[in-house]
Amino acid sequence: MSWITKTFTSSIGRKVIVAITGLFLCTFLVVHLVGNLQLFKDDGGAAFNIYSHFMGTNPVIRTLEWVLVLGFGFHIYESYTLAVRNRAARKVGYVDSRPSENSPWYSRSMALLGTLILIFLIVHMYNFFYRARFGDLDPDINNNDDLYTLVVTSFKQWWYVLLYVGAQIALCYHLIHGFRSGFQTLGLNHRKYTPIIRVIGYIFAIVVCAGFASMPLYFYFFK
């Protein structure tokens, strides 16, 4: 094995990949959330459809889309590999184990939360991304594909709203641990900045997830 493969298959090497891709995916969440806020514009979806047309056709965005796919791919693959290895590190478990006395549940449940988010992601991609890219959406007044109407009608179904809000709760806990954990793994722990990173992590997780959850709730209850 060369030093490169050795580095990235070591425990810390894999952790570093999870951290970098995780923090990168956080930046994606911001872009995704900010763009989607156009759903709230009361123009029958014209602005949102212009935006989604741009996101689906702009060559820079289409290139970055692959970077995003790689980000997700590496984050999921490396986390999975680590989770399998970590589980295998204790073949015989304890008869009496009380981890709740020394740590929060969500920090211990990152693989489970991640799996829930992945299931949501697959459903979400199929519903919106797949149909926007490969489906046959009707044109809106500007002759853009009318993704807005698809979103609004989807969010009129209660089980959809439940799935989306549930996924955001899972994402929120995943981010509360993941945000600060990413910095820690990259070695960015400092008595000046770590407390600030913790606070930013909480705010980030809550604002992002509340923002995403507000969309299905808004269309279900107020539209």
Binding site: S10, S11, A89, S107, L186, N189
Partner: protein, 261 residues
């Protein structure tokens, strides 16, 4: 051993103890009753009482590791009621006293659980994986010859304190035992930090972190997920800052060392 406090009421306890003959045999939990335990006894003294009873009955005593019994050797590796070293924060098992329990309690006692720490017998585990990690790089090169003068090498107070804090690690393995992933990163990072912070550790700085992390992985410990169970259960309070420092050391060593292997 009964203590000096006349108000200390003796306790009767039910113990559920992991019994296992040797590394290859199947183990199981066996229940015992112990009577007239003084609240002022240490946990290990309570086990001594159990073993005396067992010997009188002609049973095999329970094997457990212990040495100094004053909280500095790191031998007494018991998982008590679902926690490494028991319910009290910042203590080893020998410094846990029976006053933390109540009359009639049932106490479950298990060995450390990790593939890298195979059970030798009953509650005693083999922690030589830690020794092999230390052998892989937990040392410094020094010139033989005359003893250097004290304070000859200037070290800032805060750095010296940090290195000392890391050096207080007693290698007890509670971090591994408590970690959901059976990760040894708190232990390894304490050793790496201690030497990376001090001028004496600079000679092997890069090879040390590369070799110690490689050995840690080879021993079959899990990888840290930054939960913090280790630091919460550490009897000497080694902090997670050390793990961040180790990660930093590892990343920079891998990026800049001349080791191509």
């Amino acid at each position: 051993m009964a203590g000096n406090n006349p108000n200390a009421k003796p306790m009767n306890l039910t113990l559920k103890v992991w019994r296992q003959r040797n590394r290859n045999s199947e183990g199981k939990i066996v229940e015992y009753q112990v009577k007239d335990i003084s609240p002022e006894m240490s946990f290990l003294e309570m086990l001594d009482v159990l073993n005396e009873d067992l010997l009188l009955k002609g049973d095999e005593p329970v094997a457990f590791d212990h040495d100094c019994r004053e909280g500095i050797c790191g031998s007494c590796d018991l998982f008590i009621n679902g926690r490494a070293h028991g319910p009290e924060k910042g203590t080893t098992t020998c410094q846990l006293h029976m006053r933390k329990f109540s009359d009639g309690d049932t106490i479950t006692i298990e060995p450390w659980r990790a593939n890298a720490f195979p059970v030798n017998r009953d509650l005693s585990v083999d922690r030589s994986a830690f020794d092999r990690i230390i052998q892989a790089g937990g040392y410094i090169s020094v010139n033989t010859g005359g003893v250097p003068d004290g304070n000859e090498i200037p070290i800032p107070k805060n750095i010296a304190d940090k290195a000392f804090e890391a050096a207080t690690c007693i290698s007890c393995g509670a971090c591994v035992a408590a970690c959901k992933n059976a990760s040894a990163m708190l232990f390894v990072s304490a050793k790496i930090s201690q030497l990376a912070l001090l001028p004496q550790g600079q000679v092997e700085r890069k090879t040390r972190v590369e070799n110690m992390v490689a050995q840690m992985d080879k021993e079959g410990f899990g990888a840290c997920t930054n939960i913090g169970q280790c630091a919460a259960e550490c009897p000497v309070g080694i902090s997670l800052e050390n793990i961040a420092l180790m990660n930093r050391e590892f990343i920079s060593a891998k990026a800049t060392s001349e080791n191509l292997a």
